[in-house]
Structure formats: C-alpha cells, structure tokens
C-alpha cells in the first residue's frame, strides 16, 4: 500500500467573491500558539486593499439595494452554511488558539448563533434606531438609519472566530459592504469563513477578507477616500489607532476605536450596528 500524498490547502485572500493570491505574491507563516507550523497565509499588500475597496464599492450597490428582509435571510444562510462546516471550524479555532475542544465548540456555536441574532435585526433596526419626530409644522418628520457605505474593520487579534463574526455581522446587517483584516497571528478561521460567505448568497464584494499585517495595510485604507468608516477593534497599539483615526479625518470617516478587554461572548447589543449607520431625516409635507 502506498502512502497518499498530502493535499495541502493554499490560504488565499477573499476579494470581490474570488479567492486571489496577494497581488504582491507574498505569504507569511502561521503557527499554533505553541510555535508548531500550521500554514502559509497570503500577506495582503496595499494594492490588495485598494482592490478590495473597488470590489466592496461594487458589492455595496447590490447589497444596499436588497430589501432588509432579504439581507436577514442571507445572514441566516451564512449561519446555515457554517453549521454544515462546524467540524472544520472547531478544528480551525483549536489550531489557531490552542484551546480545548470544548472551548472551540463553544466559540463556533456562539459565532453561528451570532449570525442568527444579527439576521433577526436586519428588518428591525430601522424601527429601533429610527423615529417619528414631532415637529411644529405641517410635516411628517421621521428619521431612518441608512448604511454608511464601505466599512473597513480590523478583526480582534485574540478571538479568531467569534471576535471576527462579532465585528463583521453588525457591519453587514444595515447594508454596508465590509473589508475585514483578519487576526494576523490567527487568520485561518477567517479563510474558512470566507469560503462559507462565498457559498451563502452574499453578493460578491460585500465581504472582502484580507490576511496580513494591519500595520502595513491600514494606513492606506484609513486615508482611502472611497472608504466611509473604520472599525479598529483589532488594533492593539493605541498610538496606531490614533494615527489611523487622524488619517481617517481627512475624508471625515466614522471611526470606532478599539475597546480594551472586550468580551466577544457577551450580548453585543446594538452599539456596533449603530456605529455604522447614518441617520437620514425626512420632512414630508402633510398635504393639508
């Protein structure tokens, strides 16, 4: 009997619904927390960042035009597809974080449930975040939340899956397109998540996943004039977060600063959804 050759997976980026290698051709070594070699992941460059912004802008048009109800269905579909690959996610999280099987299971379950939770919010956030405003005049006056546009998020560095999903889902639910820079040291669950997204009726370009070093990519994306908001959840260096916030001010982006010691398993509330919507207020004549 002959030994079967290993079929090793090439870990690539996820841009515009496709899985390209980095434009720069670079990769970097990903190891377990104990130092054992795991895989070579693609190391995204600033041009990969730029390409994802183009893809996200295209994806945004389709995603934002979809009905809120439909977006909810698609987010639920992501949970369904992840459920089908539960075993792989558990293995990925265990490899990435060096945690026990039980902990990995708990994290994967929580991540899947998080999608379901946010899926429910898709067609309800307008009722909660919006309002009918009493005004002194013959007008109906109401405020509705609308998506910010293209949002760049840095996923948490420690929590490889639940952290990533907790950052990504609230961006998508209101109709934004997202570019996520995965955890540098623990990127592999993000690649598996990208494979789920590619088969979950999420239009191409709505989510783009980059693996690599946020220190290298983020300054370019923070300055990019076609990006509307930043979520810096995974930036651990306070000075860098400040620099990025300053760069983002050039085109008046919304910026959500990292929160130290965030508990990704806790009930997320609406805070992250609220960070990436714009409020539109309409004055409508009553016709009296």
């Amino acid at each position: 009997m002959t030994d079967r050759l290993d079929v090793r997976k090439t870990y690539k980026l996820f841009i515009g619904g496709a899985f390209p290698r980095s434009e720069s051709g670079r990769t970097y070594e990903v190891t377990r927390p104990d130092g054992a070699f795991l895989a070579n992941a693609a190391k995204a460059s600033r041009k990969d960042g730029r390409n994802s912004v183009l893809a996200a802008r295209k994806g945004y048009a389709a995603w934002n035009a979809a009905t809120a109800y439909n977006r909810g269905q698609v987010l639920y579909r992501i949970a369904e597809v992840m459920e089908g690959r539960r075993a792989q996610f558990i293995a990925d999280v265990q490899d990435a974080e060096g945690c026990s099987d039980t902990q990995a299971r708990a994290q994967v379950d929580a991540a899947i449930d998080r999608w379901v939770w946010y899926a429910g919010w898709a067609d309800k956030l307008a009722q909660v975040l919006g309002s009918a405003n009493p005004v002194a005049g013959p007008y109906f006056n109401f405020s509705v939340p609308e998506a910010s546009g293209v949002v760049v998020a840095v996923a948490p560095q420690d929590s490889s899956l639940i952290g990533l999903v907790s950052v990504l889902a609230p961006i998508l639910v209101s109709g934004n397109a997202a570019i996520v820079v995965a955890s540098t040291a623990r990127p592999l669950p993000s690649v598996t998540l990208a494979e789920c997204l590619a088969t979950s009726d999420v239009p191409g370009g709505v989510v783009n996943v980059l693996t690599g070093d946020p220190v290298e990519i983020m300054p370019w994306l923070a300055e990019h004039a076609d990006v509307n908001a930043l979520d810096l959840a995974g930036i651990t260096d306070d000075a860098l977060a400040t620099d990025l916030e300053r760069a983002a001010a050039g085109t008046v982006k919304r910026v959500r600063r990292p929160e130290a010691g965030a508990d990704w398993f806790a009930d997320p509330g609406l805070s992250r959804i609220r960070s990436f919507v714009e409020t539109k207020t309409v004055w409508h004549p009553m016709g009296v």
Binding site: V53, W220, E223, A225
Partner: protein
C-alpha cells in the same frame, strides 16, 4: 515593405489586388506582443506624465439616444476643466457628440477644444451616400472640426472595397477642412487581416485618423487590434510619407489600460505619435479613472468616485 511602387488608386481591381496582397497578420504573435508590452510597469514621474498625456488625448464622448443639451454642456465643462479641484489638470483633446448637438458643444467650448461629431448614419452606417454626405455637411456647418465616420462594413466584408473607398473619398471632400476619422468597427471585421486591410483602405482614401470602434459593438478596442492599426499607420508613413493618427475607442476604462496603450504606441510607431494630434482615446468613463489616479499621485492617498463627476 515594397509598397511604394505599387500603391493603388481608385481602380477597383487594383485596390482589391493590393488589399488582398497585404501580408497576413500573425494573430498569435500580435496578441502576445500586445500582452507583453502591457506588463511594463510605469511608475512615479513617468506615470504622472502618462496620465496627463492620456487626459490630453481623450475624446470625451457621449453618444446616447438620451443625450440632452444640458448633458452636452456639462460634458463640455468637464472637457475644459476635468478636475475643478486642481487647475493644473490639462483639458481633453475634444468632445465627441452626435451631429445635432454639435452647435451646443461648439457654443460651450468656443475655440478651447475640438468638437468631433459622429456622422454617416453612426453607428451602423446603413444609409445612402446622399444621406451620409448631408449628415457630414450638417455637422461641419454646425461647427464640428472633426468628423468620425463609420465605414460600410457590409460592403467591406462582401469584398466591395471600391465602394468603401469611394465613400470615404466623398465624405472627406464633404468635411472640407475638418479632420476625418474613419471608424473601422474592428469588432465586426472578425480577423486581424481584415483590420489591416481596412486600415490601409481608409488611409489610401484620405483618412486623417483611423479609429477602432464605435463603442456600440463588443469587442471594441483591444490591444492587438490597435497594434495592427499602428503597424499599418507606420507602414503607410514609410510608403507615402503621410502621417495618419489612430484613435482607440470603446472598452478602455482604466488608467492601467490607457498607459498600456501609450506603451504600445511608443513601441510600435514611436514617440512622434505620443501627441493628441496623432493618438486619441475615445472614452467616457476612462477620464474619471485618470482623474482619480491623478488625485492619488497628487495627494498621496487613494481617491474615490465621490471626488469626480457622475457622467
């Protein structure tokens, strides 16, 4: 090539013999050559130069059934000052509109920019010669100083080269002092051999420019087709001493593609052609991408579609 001695006149038999006798184009070679030139990396100051040159070469085009005078005026304003945030941005070469909107375009740009009109029953070219001549004369009378005509592809493909030749000669006469660009519509000519024949035919008949496409047929301009046309222009200059321009139109949307065309021009016919007088881009969305890249070079950060006009 030893063409000088045997250039044909309007005699149908001589014309046919000459065009059929042109050497065939190595299609695989042309595609490979164009692809290899497109891999050149143009950076920093060369890129700045290429972007400004490409902007100066743009024929800013709107050829839609729903064009309105307001849209044409907006286009003209953009042609003269493509990027209002940066006055150092050069103007484009020309605006290109349908014949009935020429007077509006001319009034809007004055003498600051060329006005090109598509004529001769654009884009199909299916009308009688009398109608085509009238179409051309109307556009010239309204103030067009460049005429983009389409050849009769039906006649060309059925081998009636003399008919195409006579038509171009007649239109050229109707143009008077206006420059004549002859659209070959290469997407309908099928083979690169035909592209070479049509290029020669147009140049022999008096074209000032040969142009790839109307933009209404896919594929429009492609690098291999443009390469073949540039080679024809080069050979024609060697044979006759007359210099003809080339216009690549349709399907060129990004700065990267535009720069690749400039490389193609430089490597095929030489630096002499790197001027708006001899090479043009027929485009609408290309200009916005050029402006975004220009802003990127100027500000150091990537720009976005919010910072250019929606056309």
């Amino acid at each position: 090539m030893t063409l000088t001695a045997s250039l044909p006149d309007a005699d149908p038999t001589a014309l046919r013999r000459f065009l059929q006798g042109l050497p065939g184009v190595d299609e695989v070679g042309a595609v490979g050559r164009a692809a290899s030139l497109a891999t050149r990396s143009i950076k920093t100051s060369s890129k700045s130069y290429a972007i400004d040159l490409a902007i100066r070469m743009v024929d800013l085009t709107t050829l839609e059934g729903m064009d309105t005078p307001g849209k044409v005026r907006a286009l003209c304003a953009k042609a003269l000052r493509p990027d209002p945030t940066d006055p150092s941005t050069p103007s484009v070469a020309a605006v290109c509109v349908y014949g009935d909107l020429v007077d509006i375009a001319r009034a809007a740009v004055g003498d600051a920019c060329h006005v090109a009109a598509v004529a001769t029953a654009f884009p199909s070219g299916r009308a009688s010669l009398a109608v085509k001549l009238q179409d051309t004369a109307d556009a010239v009378a309204a103030g067009a100083d460049e005429i983009d005509m389409v050849i009769d592809r039906g006649a060309f493909l059925s081998g009636d080269y003399a008919r195409v030749y006579d038509e171009i000669v007649a239109i050229k006469e109707a143009c008077g002092s206006a420059h004549l660009k002859v659209i070959l519509e290469t997407g309908e000519l099928r083979t690169l051999d035909n592209v070479r024949r049509a290029s020669w035919l147009a140049m022999l008949a008096g074209a000032d420019f040969i142009k790839t496409s109307t933009g209404k047929v896919s594929p429009a301009a492609t690098p291999p087709v443009t390469l073949v046309m540039l080679e024809a222009v080069r050979d024609f200059q060697t044979a006759t001493g007359r210099t003809v321009g080339v216009k690549a139109a349709g399907g060129i949307r990004t700065t990267k593609e535009a720069v690749a065309y400039l490389v193609l021009v430089n490597e095929t016919v030489g630096e002499q052609w790197l001027t708006p007088d001899l090479f043009r881009f027929g485009a609408s969305s290309l200009l916005n991408d050029l402006l975004l890249q220009r802003q990127r070079m100027r500000t150091g950060h990537y720009s976005g579609p919010d910072y250019v006009t929606i056309d």
